[in-house]
Subunit: 231 residues, 2 copies
DNA sequence: TTTTCATCTTGATATTGTCAAGATCAACGA
DNA sequence: TCGTTGATCTTGACAATATCAAGATGAAAA
């Protein structure tokens, strides 16, 4: 109750407006999407006038940056919950499921951290660092998640080449692309994921096939080609 | 010269405002992105007052719908340019390259037809038809492109199961997801595609590995498992 | 107690989508 | 030829939004 939305004493100074703005805005993007988020509505919901947020975030930009940081933290936590799995192939599959599950469960947050809403809004591109006005925490968090993926793929491939001659970065990119694309296709309702023949806990059946395909592509490789064998 | 932007006689009636709106708006989303598109700016660029477009498109919605229809037509043309390839595996690879190339060459159009800008804006979801106010031409165009993909995958798999036990719809979904995700990761600069070690005509090297991986996963399958063999 | 300064309010401006009412003009019928 | 009609475009307005400027408030420091 006495959370970030509560005021301290009178009605003039809020007490911790900055935190309240982030929390409330985060809840609002989960309810109505990133695009319909307005500073004025956030302020109104908190019970503060429309210009109050400007003293904590110069721009709507900066609010979005703070939201992205928060979103990345939650995203990283969601992915980290499966990192304890010792078998790299199993871990990779679990990462894929956790990835898409997060996107489906938190569409607003996912669109915020991965979608164009941020990059358009002058946000750090994980691999395009140019010392601009980028949020280092967001950057570190996003790079951390990609490292988790790449290291898991490397561990699963054990120095071998995957089918088709793909290397570690290629397979990691495939995995990321496929999960990212699948999540967005689901979210944008470009494809129907509400089919009755789902697998465990309502998880899209099609996605299981995708994950199994990638997993098999990695697992099959050692028998076929390794960097030191063949030509 | 006397294209869609030209007026007919005096300065009052434009002559073909509707076409001019679509053409100009399409050019503008390629220049500045979908989000910065403004009805007033389109009207101003054409040389017409801000309320003129309302007589051709009731909403910004309807303008977007028309733009999506146009974008889908161009997208379909781009994909269709490789449909003459007889070998299904080669055709599938070419489709993947054409897909991403279109997205990279026409970011605005791609985001318009595949991105959330449309679905949020009350646009037909290809597989979520519900007899609402959906544009049938757009719908038909999008379904046609997905059919091109699915039939090519089916032809390449020849009744067999792909690695990991994936069926035709699973592989088609993987291909679409991977290309969609890769395109967006490139466009959003989540990953760097401007590497010096690109393959032919500046095409991202990583994407070649992704395509080769999927291609190999399909090609390898007949030797392993088919629906009638094994268990 | 007085001062200082971050915080919040009030008020204003520019941009945007949308609506309503009027102006213009080409086509059509008498 | 001339008046009518209806589509097309303009003018003007309104509400919502981001942003800025100036003033009010009050807690902490001096």
């Amino acid at each position: 109750m006495a959370s970030s939305q509560s005021r301290k004493r009178g009605t003039y100074h809020h007490g911790n407006l900055r935190e309240a703005l982030i929390d409330t805005a985060f809840a609002m993007i989960e309810e109505d999407g990133v695009e319909s988020l307005t500073i004025r509505r956030v302020a109104e919901r908190i019970g503060v006038t429309h210009a109050a947020p400007s003293h904590h975030f110069a721009d709507k930009n900066e609010l979005m940056l703070a939201l992205a940081t928060e979103g990345f933290a939650r995203f990283r936590t969601a992915l980290g919950s499966v990192m304890h799995i010792s078998n790299p192939l199993e871990r990779l599959s679990a990462m894929g499921r956790a990835y898409v599950r997060f996107a489906l469960d938190h569409p607003g947050a996912y669109r915020l951290i991965m979608g164009p809403a941020l990059s358009r809004i002058q946000i750090p591109a994980p691999h395009a660092v140019e010392s601009g006005s980028l949020d280092h925490r967001t950057l570190a968090a996003s790079e951390g998640t990609f490292d988790m993926l790449e290291s898991t793929v490397a561990e699963a491939m054990q120095g071998h080449t995957a089918i088709g001659g793909a290397g570690v970065s290629g397979v990691a990119f495939l995995a990321w692309s496929a999960m990212h694309g699948a999540a967005l296709l689901f979210l944008d309702e470009m494809i129907d994921c509400k089919l009755p023949d789902d697998s465990t806990d309502g998880f899209p059946r099609l996605l299981d096939e995708v994950i199994a395909f990638v997993e098999a592509g990695i697992a099959l490789s050692p028998r076929g080609a390794s960097p030191s064998s063949r030509t």
